[in-house]
């Protein structure tokens, strides 16, 4: 019987080693930009976790002498990044603000994208009438401006706070992400659904739930991760908008979005540091999540393993 593959039998022993698990060093070597992203995210997270230890001031301490209204507030030794209209230390507010930004950004993007991905793949898998109905519902959702949608959600649900996190704001931000993710994921899933391995799963008599979760969802992780990382940035911005409207985080809780809005904007000519540093913080956060997302996608794709 020529069933064996002699050519490989020699190689067999040599190759009979489990493909080595790739470690952190491989990641740094292969994804330098992604590593930069990770480091930045790590710094942000550390800042958020150890805010109490790091921050030089209490973010809510008001010191009118340091306010630009009284000629103070410029970056100095005491206030390295300056102080805001109420004379609160900007560095401390930024560090505490990372807490708000990361928790709301990450949680809302994660929940929004996950639910959206499940809806999108199911819609593609079942097809036909189900797909049509789901897609029209998504059209409906997409036709609302994000802010309006968020306001509706906040108006409907009573304010709930769990572990110091405002669940309402998270839900309000997550819901607009659902239809967007569902759209993108569905288009990817439509291509996957027609592939023979999905047919093979069906001929093996697997349940729809199993096929969706085991065979389709893992194969749409690339766009999923891209979306999540992009939406974390968006969520941080959305949180700021909601806060500005008085629907999200409320003063005096430090939030990057809040720092960019409100009375602080009146000082942008005389005290630009009040806008620049929170703006930078948002940009760096968004940028590092995007870098990380891109390289994570490459890394998770088994076809690109080296």
């Amino acid at each position: 019987m020529s069933e064996t593959i002699p050519n490989q039998s020699d190689n067999a022993k040599r190759e009979n080693i489990k493909p080595s698990r790739r470690n952190v060093f491989d990641f740094i070597r292969q994804q330098p930009l992604g590593s930069v992203g990770i480091v930045l995210i790590f710094v942000l997270m550390l800042g958020a976790i150890f805010a109490q230890q790091i921050a030089p001031f209490n973010p809510e301490d008001v010191d009118f002498e340091a306010s630009p209204a009284f000629g103070g507030g410029a970056p100095s030794l005491a206030h390295p990044l300056g102080a805001d209209a109420f004379g609160r230390d900007i560095l401390s507010r930024l560090i505490y603000g990372a807490r708000t930004a990361l928790s709301i950004g990450f949680l809302s993007a994660f929940f929004g994208c996950s639910i959206g991905a499940i809806i999108g793949t199911s819609s593609a898998f079942f097809g036909g009438r189900v797909d049509l109905l789901v897609q029209r519902f998504i059209d409906l959702m997409l036709s609302f401006p994000i802010i309006v949608l968020a306001i509706i959600v906040i108006a409907i649900f009573p304010k709930t706070v769990i572990f110091g996190v405002d669940v309402n704001v998270i839900v309000a931000i997550a819901i607009p992400f659902i239809p967007k993710t569902a759209r993108v994921i569905r288009s990817q899933a439509l291509a996957v659904v027609t592939l023979p391995y999905v047919d093979a799963a069906r001929t093996n008599g697997f349940s729809s739930v199993r096929i969706i979760f085991r065979h389709i969802l893992p194969n749409v992780t690339a766009p999923f991760l891209i979306l999540i990382t992009a939406f974390i940035g968006q969520a941080i911005l959305l949180e700021a908008s909601l806060s500005y409207l008085g629907l999200g985080v409320v003063e005096p809780t430090p939030s990057w979005g809040l720092m960019l809005s409100g009375v602080n904007t009146d000082y942008y000519r005389t005290a630009p540091w009040m806008i620049i540093y929170p703006g930078l913080a948002v940009s760096i956060a968004v940028f590092s999540f995007n870098l990380f997302g891109d390289s994570l996608r490459d890394w998770l794709d088994p076809k690109l393993k080296l």
């Binding site: 019987m1 020529s2 069933e3 064996t4 593959i5 002699p6 050519n7 490989q8 020699d10 067999a12 190759e15 009979n16 489990k18 493909p19 592939l195 023979p196 391995y197 047919d199 093979a200 799963a201 069906r202 001929t203 093996n204 008599g205 697997f206 199993r210 085991r214 065979h215 893992p218 194969n219 992780t221 088994p302 076809k303 393993k305 080296l306």
Partner: protein
């Protein structure tokens, strides 16, 4: 000058510099092409055929590819030091190329006319009017009806075969001396392949154009080539006149290639000769003879590099093997010992395992035809198809693409719900709800080994999943054991369970696909073109594996394929389909010996036999035209629009399948008359 060869290549060598090493894709290749000659380069994929062709045209990306050679003389001029500008004058004008994929080798946003006149205007400096006139001539020459009208159409308005004709017309536009055709018919159906190759051969011999055709289809080579170069792992291992190579193949690789293809003209039975293993990785090729690791005749002497040397008594036929005379003498016996040639499996007639009765699969389609109007219609992908599959039997299902073979398979598996007819499996009625009960007994193997395995799961997880989900093997250890057994059974190694699909070759993946089908111990496997994406040597391995498994486990196969020779080799019973209907059904041997339906005859004629002596003396009916649109099939007999025997009756009466003899039924009203 006229005596010197048109193309003379000496020591061509192409290296690709990649991130993780250097790949020498072409190594010391020398050959000549005379004017008007038809040279075929054959070999498995990845052996350097296409790269050779591209490097002659200097079409390889300069950044990664380094081409070295003593000389590449084209019509006396050495192309080695030609600049890009000089090459541009030669490309498309004196030397042109036809690519494999007619769907993507024409620019979709330009009309056929634009693309056809472009080389005429740039190279021959014609004005628009002259160029259009010439373009019409060219389209006429390649057999495209109403050329004037066709010029203003876009590629998507042409079928695959028509596009390949247009490609040939573009290639011939400037009356070149040499045409390089890279697998020009691989993407086409046999009947269209025959049309295109006849056309190419005919035009080129009339115009005195030399052709280099790259192909893996030995039948095509036998039918048309004057000379053959056999390539293996970047080197030429054998070259000579086609007649000599086919009559006395002297390199073990050539012998293997020739013997691993099932032959339509031979009686059924026995195993195919297979070349074990896979072509080497060119990043680290074996030293010495590159075929040595796979060669059944290799000895210690093979660690030296064998150079091409002429065979005794022939100045044209040369072989790169130390044991060529020995190999020639032994022939295919170096691969298959006599013991391994056994009788085909006999099927005991019992109750049918699967019985299909007037199966229908109609798809409603609608598409926009204007701003607000749309056209809707029905495609009868499968229309009134009935047949039985007995336990342990292989039923072959053949036909051109678009004839509904795959739809039959999918309807049986309920991947698409059939729109009509009855299906019975194991004497149980099959419908949407009862299908779940027989899922485990009915499995499928797909065509494309690349997309039939979930890329995010390891081989072990893929094979384990059904065992786990259906509680067939509940214990983890037992499952582990079982997966190992399955892998060994299909000729892989148990340690491969930790691999991901992309880490395996196409053939290995197809074996995993088979293992997945086997793990539920099915009674019937629907094989949807299981070998058509594989190289011939691997194809033979898979066919042998399928036959061994059938012998051992008594599985029945419904074998869907377009390769007539493969179907003939493996099937007990054969069904010939055309536009959703069965044209002929019956015992395989009988159908291939005495086809009764005009379509079966034409199909068999179109498939070339890999032996120039037989192939060139066959009387052939070459089918005209192409498959009609399934949206608007001919009334009466669906084949009537292409049948050379069709009369007015055929256009009105829908023929029924009539028993012609005990084991042959034909759907043709003229069957008595014709035969």
């Amino acid at each position: 000058m006229t005596n010197s060869p048109l193309l003379d290549i000496s020591n061509l060598q192409v290296e690709f510099k990649l991130k993780n090493g250097v790949v020498r894709a072409v190594d010391n290749v020398s050959f000549q092409v005379d004017r008007g000659e038809f040279l075929a380069i054959v070999g498995e994929s990845g052996c350097g055929k296409s790269v050779t062709a591209l490097s002659i045209m200097k079409l390889l990306p300069k950044r990664v590819a380094e081409i070295k050679s003593d000389y590449v003389k084209f019509d006396g001029q050495d192309l080695t030091n030609f600049s890009e500008t000089e090459m541009r004058k030669i490309r498309g004008c004196r030397m042109s190329m036809i690519f494999q994929e007619p769907m993507t080798s024409l620019n979709p946003v330009l009309t056929i006319g634009d693309q056809l006149t472009e080389p005429l205007i740039t190279h021959l400096e014609m004005n628009a009017e002259e160029a259009t006139k010439r373009a019409v001539e060219l389209l006429n020459m390649v057999g495209i009806p109403e050329p004037q009208k066709r010029l203003s159409q876009y590629p998507h308005q042409f079928s695959g075969g028509m596009r390949q004709r247009v490609m040939i017309a573009i290639g011939l536009a400037c009356e070149p001396d040499l045409i390089i055709a890279d697998e020009p018919t691989t993407a086409l159906d046999v009947t269209i392949q025959a049309q295109i190759l006849e056309l190419l051969k005919d035009i080129c011999s009339r115009m005195g154009v030399a052709v280099i055709m790259i192909t893996h289809n030995l039948g095509v080579v036998a039918a048309y080539a004057d000379k053959v170069n056999v390539m293996y792992a970047a080197r030429i291992v054998e070259k000579g006149k086609a007649s000599e190579i086919f009559a006395s193949p002297s390199h073990p690789y050539t012998i293997g290639l020739l013997r691993s293809v099932p032959r339509m003209d031979k009686k059924r039975g026995g195993r195919l000769a297979t070349i074990d293993g896979l072509p080497p990785n060119l990043m680290a090729p074996p030293s010495g003879c590159r075929f040595q690791p796979r060669c059944p005749m290799s000895t210690d002497a093979c660690s030296e590099v064998p150079f091409l040397s002429n065979r005794k008594g022939s100045s044209k036929h040369s072989v790169a093997c130390f044991y060529s005379e020995d190999a020639l003498k032994k022939g295919s016996s170096i691969y298959v010992s006599d013991k391994e040639i056994f009788e085909p499996i006999n099927v005991k007639k019992q109750a049918p395992l699967l019985s299909v009765r007037s199966l229908k699969q109609h798809f409603g389609v609608s598409f926009r035809s204007g701003w607000l109007s749309s056209i809707s219609g029905t495609v009868k992908a499968v229309d009134d198809v009935s047949f039985d599959v007995y336990p342990g039997e292989t039923v072959g299902l053949v036909g051109e693409s678009g004839c509904g073979k795959t739809s039959v398979g999918r309807a049986i598996l309920h991947l698409n719900l059939p729109t009509g007819g009855q299906l019975e499996f194991n004497s149980k009625d099959l419908n949407e709800s009862s299908i779940a009960l027989v899922r485990q007994d009915m499995q499928v193997i797909f065509q494309d080994p690349f997309s039939s395995l979930n890329p995010r799961m390891t081989i072990g997880e893929i094979l384990e999943e059904p065992l786990k989900v259906h509680n067939i093997v509940t214990e983890t250890d037992a499952r582990f054991e079982r997966v190992g057994q399955l892998l060994t059974k299909v000729g892989l190694y148990a340690y491969m369970r930790d691999r991901y699909p992309h880490e395996l070759s196409g053939g290995q993946r197809q074996r995993v696909g088979i293992a997945r089908a086997l793990c539920m111990e099915p009674k019937l496997i629907i094989c949807d073109e299981p070998v058509s994406a594989l190289d011939v040597s691997v194809q033979a391995q898979i066919i042998n594996l399928l036959e061994d498994l059938q012998r051992e486990l008594g599985i029945a196969y419904l074998f869907i394929a377009h390769d007539l020779a493969v179907v003939k080799h493996i099937s007990h019973k054969v069904i010939v389909m055309y536009l959703g209907k069965i044209m002929e059904i019956g015992d395989g041997e009988t159908i291939y010996q005495e086809p009764k339906h005009p379509y079966t005859k034409a199909l068999l004629d179109a498939a070339p036999i890999p032996d120039p002596k037989i192939e060139r003396n066959r009387k052939k009916i070459i089918l005209k035209g192409e498959l009609p649109s399934p949206l608007n099939p001919p009334r009466g007999c669906v084949f009537s629009s292409r049948c050379n025997l069709a009369t007015d009756d055929c256009k009105e009466i829908i023929p029924k399948l009539i028993n012609f003899s005990k084991d042959q039924s034909v759907a043709c009203i003229k069957v008595e008359e014709v035969n």
